[in-house]
Subunit: 230 residues, 2 copies
């Protein structure tokens, strides 16, 4: 008898690559990637395919999603709002927050899981040491899982699994190294597609994680500020 | 001070037209329509604009959504699965069920509502006298509303409102007439865009509702079987 199936959301960043590495040890994976008009969508899609190739995943789906950029409200998808330089001590919800984005992502994941007969949807969200996005909280994922039980065919049970939710970026880097995740294939920068900018929130969180873990980040950067003690 | 805002999902069918009529009496409406690869998407979009014109709604968003037809699993979006003739006594989930579709619709609605500062998302779902879709149950909407509270910015409260959820189609026709809803502008057929087929589940439910209410359906049909006593 074959293994159980799971859908894994793979953005191509560090968190989703570790999530994928965890998921594929236990499940037969169907890999899902969303292009939602984010500035670096081409580079992220390449990272998605590189990771899926690395893990030998044949069942893949890339979904173009237009509404998040049509709706706007985020510096990630709305070119009229600049990507701010990192401020790792800022409070509140940052300008890069894409309103209720993860609900759209999980809805696609659960729809596909229901058709495939998969029993879980993996997502690489991080609650702590992250950016204060409301749709990255464990409370949200638990509520969404209940909605998935209520809104799918009787007898369907699809769990929402976020294995790195409570890890810091430093712990995620260590976990990636111990699982042999090919971090050179991942992409996290919000702003550039050739070399990571080193300055946006996502680069700052990533670099700080590597620096605190004492590991060198294998991807190219325009600049690599020291964030370890910030 | 202006009225509170709400997002209304308007497919262009009878149920969403009555929902819109109810919503616009209390709220300033932003009207949302999803093109998701259903067979009759062009005709439904026309009905959406005709209804929005009728109610004088300027704030509109039409979102193309590709994943539901990419994922398949439904006769509405997958051309390899035929639309079955109506069987109003069938049990279980019919072939026209689009897996977890309403979660995707509501996710877009809540994202837009969060950006607009709207306090409700209206959806024209019908639980009873309907087709047994799991994502049309009150239990699902209540669970999704809790996910929307958990997954949006602190202080955001967006209610999910389904005013026709517990009505029969007969009651919906009567309500449409009493509210003066322009039913001639609506479209419900799953299969055709010129004249309604009269044979699919959606046509059968609609015609039965009109026949039981003793009202003539103003849209053109290829054939109008008698469903009143079925």
């Amino acid at each position: 008898m074959g293994r159980e199936r799971a859908v894994a959301l793979v953005s191509g960043g560090m968190d989703s690559s570790v999530t994928l590495a965890v998921a594929q040890r236990e499940y037969e994976i169907a890999a899902l990637h969303l292009r939602y008009g984010q500035r670096t969508e081409g580079r992220e899609e390449r990272a998605f395919h590189d990771l899926a190739d690395y893990y030998g995943i044949a069942t893949r789906l890339v979904v173009p999603m237009h509404h998040l950029s049509l709706i706007g409200g985020s510096s990630l998808t709305d070119r009229s709002i600049p990507v701010s330089a990192a401020d790792l001590h800022a409070r509140g919800v940052p300008s890069s927050y894409v309103p209720f984005r993860n609900a759209s992502f999980l809805s696609v994941g659960v729809s596909w899981a229901e058709v495939l007969g998969a029993s879980a949807v993996f997502i690489g969200a991080v609650e702590e040491d992250s950016s204060g996005y409301p749709d990255c909280r464990g409370e949200f994922f638990a509520a969404f899982e209940r909605a998935a039980v209520a809104g799918t065919k009787p007898g369907t049970t699809i769990r929402i699994v976020a294995p790195v939710l409570h890890l810091s970026k430093e712990e995620i880097v260590r976990m990636a190294v111990s699982l042999g995740v090919p971090l050179r294939l991942t992409w996290s920068c919000y702003q550039r597609e050739d070399r990571a900018c080193g300055m946006c929130d996502s680069c700052a969180l990533r670099l700080r994680g590597f620096q605190r873990a004492g590991v060198e980040d294998p991807i190219p950067y325009v600049t690599r500020p020291q964030y370890a003690n910030t």
